[in-house]
């Protein structure tokens, strides 16, 4: 008798389990848009700063383009590595000038850190480090059709604008570089 009751209880549990998984599984499979919103977007999940470039900390407006300097980004999820990078973007509403020359203070201490010369057509970059702890450039790339939220003073990284669907495609062209530092950035 006891065995039979256990069997019935197990059977009820098994069928309930099946019903629950089928309900959630099918509703997720058929209503992906709703579930993406519930599970991912509303939870505030965003791409890693390592790929996103991190939040912007300084925005410099120039005649033909804007320069956006991002926060230092460190490797690692739960702990930081010793070598951060800082991403800098040159963004234009139409075309970037063929050559760009800028001296930038990327660390925000009021002292220029790097002098950069960019050939935007060939995407060739030459630079002169003005401080000892700059190791070099790790990545460079061109940007296109970046939807950006321009009413804010700063923006939270490029992907956010794709993800949050805010604003129209404002910036048509751009160039990004990443400056690698030898160790923790000193102010």
């Amino acid at each position: 008798m006891k065995k039979r009751i256990v069997k019935i209880v197990l059977c009820i549990l098994g069928v309930t389990w099946l019903a629950v998984t089928m309900y959630f599984g099918i509703s997720m499979f058929m209503g992906q848009g709703v579930w993406i919103n519930k599970l991912v977007v509303m939870q505030g999940i965003e791409p890693s700063k390592k790929f996103d470039g991190g939040d912007s900390v300084n925005w410099i407006n120039k005649k033909d383009y804007n320069i956006i300097i991002h926060e230092p980004v460190y490797d690692g999820v739960f702990w930081h590595s010793k070598k951060p990078f800082i991403q800098v973007d040159w963004l234009s509403y139409s075309e970037l000038p063929p050559t760009i020359e800028d001296t930038l203070d990327v660390t925000g201490d009021g002292v220029p850190d790097i002098s950069v010369k960019i050939n935007t057509k060939e995407l060739s970059i030459t630079y002169k480090a003005l401080r000892d702890d700059i190791k070099g450039l790790i990545d460079k790339g061109s940007l296109s059709d970046i939807r950006m939220y321009t009413s804010k003073n700063a923006y939270d990284g490029l992907f956010s604008y794709h993800n949050k669907k805010v604003g129209d495609a404002v910036y048509r062209n751009g160039v990004s570089i990443r400056i690698l530092f030898k160790g923790k950035i000193k102010d």
Partner: protein
């Protein structure tokens, strides 16, 4: 002729196919038939007919694996066609992934990266991948929700029914008649080691290390532009793994070696499978211990130990091969907790097959249909690009 055609069985199979015909009519997009272009009409109809024919034949012959394999291998063959050409249309170049693509966010997210991204996603709300979260068919959000849905419905059967890479190995493992090399089942634990390793290294370096260095399927999707010595090494590694584990070893061993020995998603999915109530059961009383199932299992999930326990091992992908090959029909699908009767097993199998074919319809309508459309476009215009 009557030996091959059983009318009663045919009618029964047709009746069982009717719900799927109705369901897949909507899932594959066939309901838009009247507003489709001529190419679309041919492509959608071909896939719709193929899918439902495979289901009908599964019902008619009671063989699961051989008809599953037709669709599963079609996935793997058509996926790169659609994927690579789609990338070209979006980015202007084929398979090489550049830094520009990464910062522009046009990097498709793939299910294999999920186990690596889960911990940072849960604890830091960050996805360690250079792609979009929404707004794109292969976005992280889309793949994560699709993975959750499929895991709830069929568990690790994802690896035999929904993965758009596994068909490569499945196909290669079917090319030879006999296994020329025998693999020790202990190799299957290797994928669990890879899983732990890539999860830890992803946390340490904030980079999906499996995608960067090991994933062999970059050979049929996309890979990082070769620009540094490190990327050269990574390219050699993944190309060698593709040739070895996806093409050569499956042919020699008749096993899905990459899925069994390397894939961290497969290992992770073995654990996730526990949330799903479908299980493969081996009836110890009727089993004659012929070991045909053990030898035929493509993921080395059936061992002497699991036979003695009356179930398949942790890595079972519910492909149905063991059920088809068993001479005593003592291997069956059942719902955990339900009584061990033929009737309940039959219902469980039927339900499982409906779910898997619906999932295949959902995924296949993106790859197979669009690949057929492109082939038709090529025939008509001489160009494979839209």
């Amino acid at each position: 002729m009557s030996k091959y055609i059983n009318l009663k069985q045919g009618i029964r199979s047709l009746l069982l196919t009717l719900p799927l015909l109705y369901g897949t009519y909507y899932i594959t997009g066939m309901y838009r038939f009247s507003i489709m272009t001529a190419d679309e009409k041919i492509a959608f109809t071909s896939f719709y007919v193929l899918l439902n024919t495979m289901f009908f034949l599964t019902m008619y012959t009671k063989k699961v694996d051989r008809f599953r394999a037709v669709l599963f291998i079609s996935f793997a063959v058509t996926f790169p066609i659609e994927f690579v050409l789609g990338l070209y249309e979006k980015r202007g170049h084929f398979m090489a992934l550049t830094f520009s693509d990464m910062i522009n966010g046009i990097v498709p997210f793939c299910h294999i990266v999920i186990p690596q991204t889960l911990i940072p996603m849960i604890f830091h709300k960050q996805i360690i991948f250079p792609g979009l979260i929404t707004d794109f068919m292969y976005s992280a959000g889309f793949m994560i929700v699709a993975w959750l849905a499929v895991s709830l419905l069929i568990g690790r059967a994802w690896c035999s029914w929904a993965c758009f890479y596994g068909g490569w190995e499945d196909g290669c493992s079917r090319l030879s008649r006999k296994a020329r090399v025998k693999l020790n089942p202990k190799w299957k634990w290797c994928s669990f080691a890879v899983f732990i390793l890539v999860v830890l290294t992803t946390i340490e370096f904030a980079t999906p290390t499996y995608c960067l260095f090991l994933c062999p399927f970059k050979a049929c999707s996309e890979f990082i532009e070769v620009s540094t010595p490190l990327v050269v090494i990574a390219t050699i590694v993944f190309a060698a793994l593709f040739a070895g584990l996806v093409l050569v070893l499956p042919f020699l061993t008749k096993k899905r070696t990459q899925c069994t020995m390397l894939c961290p998603f497969g290992a992770f999915q073995s654990l996730v499978d526990k949330i799903n109530p479908f299980r493969v059961r081996i009836d110890k009383e009727t089993c004659i211990n012929c070991k045909k199932c053990m030898n035929s299992c493509p993921v080395m999930s059936i061992t002497e130990k699991s036979l003695a326990c009356g179930s398949t091992g942790l890595t079972c992908t519910k492909c149905g091969k063991c059920m088809d090959i068993c001479p005593k029909n003592c291997i069956s699908l059942h719902i955990k907790g339900t009584p061990k009767t033929k009737r309940s097993d039959k219902i469980a199998k039927q339900l499982f097959l409906y779910l898997t074919y619906v999932i295949m319809a959902g995924f296949g309508s993106s790859f197979i249909v669009t690949a057929i459309e492109r082939v038709l476009l090529l025939i008509r215009t001489g160009s494979i690009l839209h």
